[in-house]
Assembly symmetry: none
Homo-oligomer: 205 residues x 4
């Protein structure tokens, strides 16, 4: 018979708390979410949250951000240093953008919380995100420079070029996070390809 150990049971409850809190904070905001909404959704008593997170609502918010964010970053890092060097340029750009998409949209709730509650709580995660993005821009710029050396694209300000590519994509991404659609929402990958093709046409040597 499937016996669940006490420890497993405990971890399961803790995880359900974090998951549910994340959903609700993303949907209704931190201040708009009563602790009860969380505990009721996992069918437990009022006090359970304080058992796992003695610091209460604030603590579960902090923990979920930290854990979710770390988890995201770990995922990204695994994907990150793959060999795009040897891919054809178009494919390489698609891979890069695909990873960015994953970074932002694979945990949409996390991003929503980060965006919404950032200036309320002055979240370190938001700052880390900013840093990550700047680094990414630079690394893409470097990548483009190498491709230029290979004669695949023209000479230009590669940092701006990197920003240009990312910006167009981020526009798309923001829509999903913030809920304000500023870009037509057709098939996502189709749009990505069209965008890359357009950009490459401008970068031709």
């Amino acid at each position: 018979m499937a016996q669940i150990s006490r420890k497993e049971q405990a971890t399961a409850t803790r995880d359900k708390l974090l998951e549910t809190a994340k959903n609700l904070f993303a949907e209704m905001g931190y201040h708009g979410t009563p602790v009860r909404a969380i505990t009721r959704q996992i069918q437990k008593g009022d006090g359970i949250l304080y058992h796992y997170f003695p610091g209460g609502k604030q603590e579960i918010m902090a923990v979920l951000l930290k854990e979710s964010f770390e988890h995201r970053v770990r995922e990204i890092k695994q994907l990150t240093n793959e060999t795009i060097e040897n891919l054809p340029l178009r494919d390489a750009l698609l891979v890069i953008l695909g990873k960015i998409r994953e970074l932002f949209l694979n945990d949409l709730d996390l991003m929503r919380i980060l965006f919404r509650e950032n200036d309320l709580f002055d979240l370190v995660e938001a700052k880390q995100l900013s840093v990550m993005m700047s680094e990414r821009v630079e690394s893409i710029a470097e990548f483009l420079r190498r491709r230029h050396v290979r004669g695949e694209i023209r000479a230009m300000n590669f940092t701006f070029a990197a920003r240009q590519l990312l910006s167009m994509w981020m526009q798309y991404t923001y829509s999903a996070i913030v809920g304000i659609k500023m870009v037509p929402e057709p098939d996502m990958t189709a749009y990505m390809e069209e965008m890359v093709d357009f950009t490459l046409s401008l970068w031709q040597p």
Copy 2:
């Protein structure tokens, strides 16, 4: 001596309520702002908000969004049909981006509320904003097409070109609204010019 009529005094109070509510909602979020914080800031009694907005917190939120947004739109419309046709391309683009900046950043508080509380309240204003932006993209695309006919820029997908320009700029704008800086924040106009120059260099015939 500056005599203020009773009616003027009343309007002033109402306006102060709206203004203060906007500030606080933008800063601490709707749920994070007690009604008291508003009335105390304008040095009035607890009940005054309900005198002007019988529907309470909800109503003042709705009214301030509606009035601020309408005011924004009115301002934009006035600026809108100016003669960019006859300006040099670079200047014309700078004017266009300048207007977009005004649309989003002249009332930063309004934008913050729109972005933050959109999925909480399903705000019509957010939807209108989306529509406005899509229309703007199309009108810029048309403008670029006309410039292409004049031989000033190369042939390309003008809708994408318009999006490309706007996206880069919006990236900048988002940073200010959401508080997550994904782009270095140097002098704003300098960045705008750099960006336009970079873009134009890619659009050369």
Copy 3:
């Protein structure tokens, strides 16, 4: 031109206040009626009530009870000492019950207030009403005794007989005041006649 003097205007406003307050207190109860409900219904400003009744809500309640009650009593007294002596018994009883009905139902709002708020305010009017009713019972008892002497009805405990008659009628009256119908509500005068006939049939010598 129909000029209304200032005094008439003032009296009119005062009367409208009293009338409206009576309606609303009867309908929604004293505590359930905001002062604003009164002033708004007569299309005047918030403060007007305090102009005519400096004691505020309490005073208008006291005044309206006093004036309405006195008015009622004055009306009743006029009707009261008519010559029922010479009427046929049946007609005399109908006249008596008719008067009682007027006493209670001609100003239904007043009665509602008296019944509803009596133990909240320990109203003197309620007590006077009790006294009036007891006196009435005795005077009817006397009347019946005289009719017995004339041989029109049998000997019996006339006080109880008077109560019996009144009770049946009051049952009817209570229904209207309290809003709990305990008696079928056909045509009122028809019911009154039926009731009298039934009673007389029991009183036959």
Copy 4:
């Protein structure tokens, strides 16, 4: 020692809330009773009422009426079909009136609320009460008819006779509920007997 389980304790608190609310609503009216008055009287915190009645004041009002009324009706139903058939007429009538008295006066607070707040809340209970009373009249009429057949009372309109008896008694009852005494209030049972004797004297064959 008398150990009280947690559940019992909870039920006790809930019951105390209902009981106290009933007392206070009857005494000071629904609108005249602050929620605090209830919680303070049972020596509990402000929030406790909302723990048991999430709908607040309105809900506790609704629940207490429903539960009290159902309880009353259940009690009445138990008493109802006893063997009055075989009692002497006078005793039978006294039993009947005694039950009516119990119906109305055993839970005086409930009746006060029903009478006072009926038109404020359009209470179903008040309507049920009306229906119950009408049925009662008919069942007494039937009873009287059977006694007539046995030759114990004269022929007459039995429905009216039943109403007559009840009315006299209800007069008495109303006084207690509404607080306006329209009938001398001596010893209750003495009055009841006198009344029955008087009525029977008129009903003699």
